[in-house]
């Protein structure tokens, strides 16, 4: 059983077929409004009570020529009447607006899946641009799928004929025509989308708004009146059981941005966010520039080094310095992060990882910067590493990072990735007022102030803001006396400070929740240990395997360094430990080094997330082999 379930349209009996969950994929030219269409379908599914996860699949090129394979933009949604953990291994239903979209996406559709194609776009030039020599709709190459060619272009033109729009504008409505059809397939309510269209276009151009609504309705009517497949009356995906409350969708970029704004409020301290644009990290900046009113000042620096240094300067100045980038940019920040470790200043560093090495595959996801997070600096330079496991968790982890950074006066690296950054999921909006405050105190008392004297509990030094009377002091990157902070070349002092830095970070382990088992027993034959964005596929795979009766548990780390205090003992309870990662085994290195146990890795480095089936197979081979 996989996260998604292959459709079997033939089984219909006049009624809608009930599906536990379904994966729909829209694909077309960047100009076809694919992301917008997907977004509307997402809202409709959410309103219909489904749980869901969505993932946009942008072209690597900014704007490729129309009709080319590398210009195809796609959007995938997995929605269901049960908890949804991934955007789906493969689609049950594809809408392809042109040959290029069909070509690049057909392999992502389950055999037997429904493939709706705008046959109006399959002329010789369109086929040639996509690199087809023969029309795939005619050569039998699509036999394994339930292909439904519809001349959506023509039908759209007909539907909006009396709108007064020119042909080009009229054709722009075809995504809504297709959306209407898909709404029929899944029995969705059109009203909210129609409303949205009114709001978006209505003010500027009532004709365009009306045409789009007409197209939406026409597509829907087409579904109702025409038989797409023999005896096919559409699907029904029941409501999921979700905790009640107010929901919105959230991406990883949103999560961090909103989480930092919340952190500014919870700490009652201004956040200074400094970064340099880079894929796939930039959405955090793009969101935060709109949140100035909430106590977050943003700064687009001249480069990543400057961004880190601006954040460090801001922390020195009494704000919460945050910097964000992706792998290559984080590499550049290494020296500056060392300064923050040495000066013992709070600093939050967000790395939205992408496929490396070097420029790598900027738009593809990977988890290969864990080494860099743990070890990517000169000297013995420990810091705290956290990893959210979903878009919504970015909100939580932004706050957690701020809490640890300010409480321990230490840099905290948060590892997200391209998948988390762009994926979107429904989010039960939390009540920020009910979250625990994060008390941040600035030293005020000049009496007995020693810049590097420590709180005996946290080992944090005091945070003394410039401008505070009587606390003038100097800090720097040269080794500091363990109390006065003056430059010290004393060997014993260097050992003491090294030990302090180490113990301070290690001590954070006492201040984080003990590691729990996400699913399965606390002891057993095999534990799958994951971190970050592999949460979804591991969770679903373990659910499936446990349903089959296999003795497997899922442990997911969100605090990577220090590791939770109980982790070693927990892992000792399993005969085998399997660590799936989208890298060549980086968490594996950490765990083996820490516990000196021969845990095994499962590595995938393709720029693509794990499939549920891949995890299942790996576990099975170990438990059944």
């Amino acid at each position: 059983m996989s996260e998604t379930q292959t459709l079997n349209p033939e089984s219909g009996q006049g009624d809608r077929i009930e599906l536990e969950s379904a994966v729909v994929r829209f694909a077309g030219d960047s100009g076809d409004g694919i992301q917008l269409t997907g977004g509307q379908f997402t809202v409709a599914s959410a309103l219909a009570g489904n749980d869901l996860t969505t993932f946009p699949d942008f072209p690597a090129e900014i704007r490729a020529p129309v009709g080319t394979t590398y210009g195809v933009s796609a959007f995938q949604i997995n929605f269901g009447g049960r908890r949804i953990n991934t955007s789906g291994d493969a689609a049950d239903c594809l809408v392809a607006f042109n040959p290029a979209a069909l070509k690049t996406n057909i392999d992502k559709v389950n055999r037997g899946g429904l493939v709706i194609v705008d046959s109006g776009n399959f002329g010789p030039r369109d086929l040639k641009k996509a690199g087809y020599e023969v029309n795939p709709l005619e050569d039998g190459s699509l036999e394994g799928w339930n292909v439904v060619p519809i001349d959506i272009s023509r039908l759209t033109l007909e539907a909006v004929a009396d709108s007064g729009l020119g042909k080009v504008d009229a054709l722009r409505c075809k995504n809504f025509w297709a959306l209407g059809l898909i709404y029929w397939v899944f029995g969705r309510d059109r009203a909210p989308t129609a409303e949205w269209i009114e709001q978006k276009f209505g003010r500027k151009d009532a004709a365009i708004a009306k045409a789009n609504v007409d197209a939406l309705n026409a597509g829907h009517a087409f579904g109702e009146t025409m038989e797409l497949l023999q005896d096919f009356h559409g699907y029904r995906v029941p409501k999921a059981e979700l905790p009640p409350g107010l929901y919105r969708t959230i991406t990883g970029g949103d999560g961090f941005a909103l989480g930092l704004a919340a952190a500014a409020q919870l700490t009652e301290t201004e956040v200074v966010f400094a970064s340099y644009p880079i894929t796939p990290a930039s959405p955090i900046l793009h969101h935060l520039v709109k949140l100035t009113a909430y106590g977050v000042t943003t700064h687009q620096a001249e480069d990543e080094i400057a961004a880190a240094c601006v954040a460090i300067g801001a922390s020195y100045g009494g704000a919460i310095g945050v910097t964000s980038s992706s792998g290559p940019g984080i590499a550049l920040k290494g020296e500056a992060i060392g300064l923050a470790v040495a000066a013992e200043l709070p600093l939050v560093i967000i790395n939205t990882q992408r496929a490396g090495p070097s420029t790598g595959l900027p738009t593809k996801t990977e988890q290969s910067d864990l080494y860099q997070a743990l070890y990517g600096r000169n000297g013995d330079t420990p810091l705290v590493v956290l990893a959210p496991n979903s878009p919504a968790d970015c909100f939580t982890m932004a706050i957690e990072a701020t809490r640890i950074a300010t409480k321990y006066m230490v840099p905290v690296m948060v590892l997200s990735d391209g998948y988390i950054a762009n994926a979107s999921e429904p989010w039960l909006i939390p009540d920020v007022d009910s979250l625990p405050r994060i008390p941040v105190t600035f030293r005020q008392d000049p009496e007995g102030y020693l810049p590097f004297k420590r709180d005996p509990d946290t080992l944090a030094r005091d945070w003394a803001k410039p401008g505070t009377p009587g606390l003038a002091h100097r800090v720097g990157g040269i080794e500091r006396d363990s109390e006065t902070g003056d430059i010290s070349y004393d060997p014993a002092n260097h050992q003491r400070m090294t030990d302090f830095r180490h113990a301070k970070v290690a001590g954070v382990a006492r201040d984080i929740p003990p590691q729990t088992v996400d699913q399965g027993k606390e002891r057993g034959r095999l534990a799958v240990v994951g971190w970050g964005s592999t949460y979804g596929p591991i969770k679903r795979a373990v659910t499936n395997l446990r349903a089959e009766g296999l003795d497997v548990s899922h442990i997911h780390l969100r605090h990577i360094w220090p590791l939770p205090e109980n982790l070693g003992a927990l892992l000792d309870g399993f005969d085998q430990v399997l660590v799936p990662e989208m890298n060549t085994g980086q968490l594996l290195t950490l765990l083996r080094a820490t516990y000196a146990k021969p845990y095994e890795g499962l590595s995938k480095v393709t720029g693509q997330p794990f499939k549920i089936a891949e995890i299942e197979a790996a576990v099975r081979s170990r438990l059944e082999g």
């Binding site: 949140l291 020195y316 000066a343 410039p466």
Partner: protein
């Protein structure tokens, strides 16, 4: 309250820390330190609102000797750290201390950008035309032919002119002084501090160990008359008389060109009236003055250019104010609910 609100008279010593100053005996840095301490004392600066941010180098040890807030950061990055300090608290008076290597080699990019953004700070670039702290390699300002540990046969690359670089980045305040201009330096530093925006000051500084006396001829008490000129806004560009002597020469535009030339007063009927009057708001003149070198021209000291422009601190502040104005409810709960939301009813509903 009866407590006095104006601080008692301050002395340079009030700005000195208890740390032993560890530059080489005879290093030009001592005089600059004294001068900065004097200026802050003269201006009754609030030391709790003053921050010195530096990079790495002999010069960058400066903050340890100033009893103010201080941050000795990493090589070349002081402008970026200082920008962060100002973003956290624009009310602070932030001074950046850097060297010719720190500021123009590894830190060149940050220098360009803090100047471009016009962050309200003072940049003191100690130019000794050498890497002091790392034991005497050539720096990007070393004169061609400088023999150093990395250029035993003499350096070959053309040096950068710090002021030209700063002007190239759009600086709105540039000045030059020297460790040996003990009497003149404070006024330049005061002008820099008074300037709203990024004030760039090149300070020629003698490294007695690795590059001794490269500025000897035209700085300080022993300077040769005619080799230097102190410029002042609105005053004619006169020089050449030596200490406490009336000037004997002047500078004027070579007619029909974009070049300057030196004229001798009293020769060929030249009088003070023929001499160019310094206009610190003219960037072309500033560039020409900055570029003057011996033997044909005197080296220029003083405020070469100053012209107000929008300041980064203000644009950040007004951006914040605008945002607050546009957002009456700044509660996060309201923010989270913005945009498309939907209710999921409980099982009981």
């Amino acid at each position: 309250m009866n407590a006095p609100t104006t601080p008692a008279k301050l002395t340079p010593k009030d700005f000195a820390t208890d740390q032993e100053v560890r530059w080489c005996p005879g290093c030009g840095d001592y005089a600059i330190l004294k001068s900065v301490q004097k200026v802050l004392a003269d201006l009754k600066a609030d030391k709790d609102k003053t921050v010195f941010v530096s990079g790495i180098g002999c010069s960058s040890r400066f903050p340890y000797y100033m009893d103010t807030y201080g941050f000795h950061t990493i090589h070349g990055r002081a402008p970026a750290v200082a920008t962060g300090v100002k973003m956290a608290n624009p009310e602070l008076d932030v001074w950046i201390v850097t060297g010719d290597g720190d500021g123009l080699s590894i830190g060149g990019n940050h220098l360009l950008h803090i100047i471009r953004r016009n962050v309200d700070t003072q940049i003191l670039l100690f130019n000794n035309e050498i890497y002091g702290l790392t034991k005497g390699q050539a720096s990007p300002t070393s004169a061609i032919g400088t023999r150093s540990s990395s250029t035993p046969e003499g350096s070959v690359d053309a040096p950068l002119d710090p002021i030209k670089v700063a002007m190239g980045a759009g600086a709105r305040f540039v000045a030059r002084t020297a460790d040996k201009w003990i009497k003149e330096m404070p006024d330049v530093l005061k002008a820099a501090r008074e300037h709203r925006g990024c004030a760039f000051v090149e300070i020629l500084q003698n490294c007695i160990v690795y590059n001794d006396a490269v500025f000897g001829e035209f700085t300080g008490k022993e300077a040769v008359p005619g080799t230097y000129i102190h410029v002042e806004h609105g005053k004619p560009l006169l020089f050449g008389g030596g200490r406490n002597e009336p000037p004997v020469k002047g500078i004027r535009v070579k007619p029909g060109t974009f070049k300057l030339e030196v004229v001798t007063l009293g020769e060929n009927g030249i009088s003070e009236a023929d001499v160019l009057v310094h206009d610190k708001t003219d960037p072309v003149l500033a560039g020409l003055l900055a570029a003057m070198t011996g033997p044909d021209f005197p080296v220029a000291f003083g405020v070469l250019y100053e012209d107000a422009a929008p300041v980064h601190d203000d644009s950040v502040a007004s951006h914040k104010a605008d945002a607050r104005k546009k957002t009456p409810d700044v509660s996060i709960n309201a923010l989270l609910k913005r945009g498309r939301t939907w209710m999921v009813e409980g099982p009981g509903a």
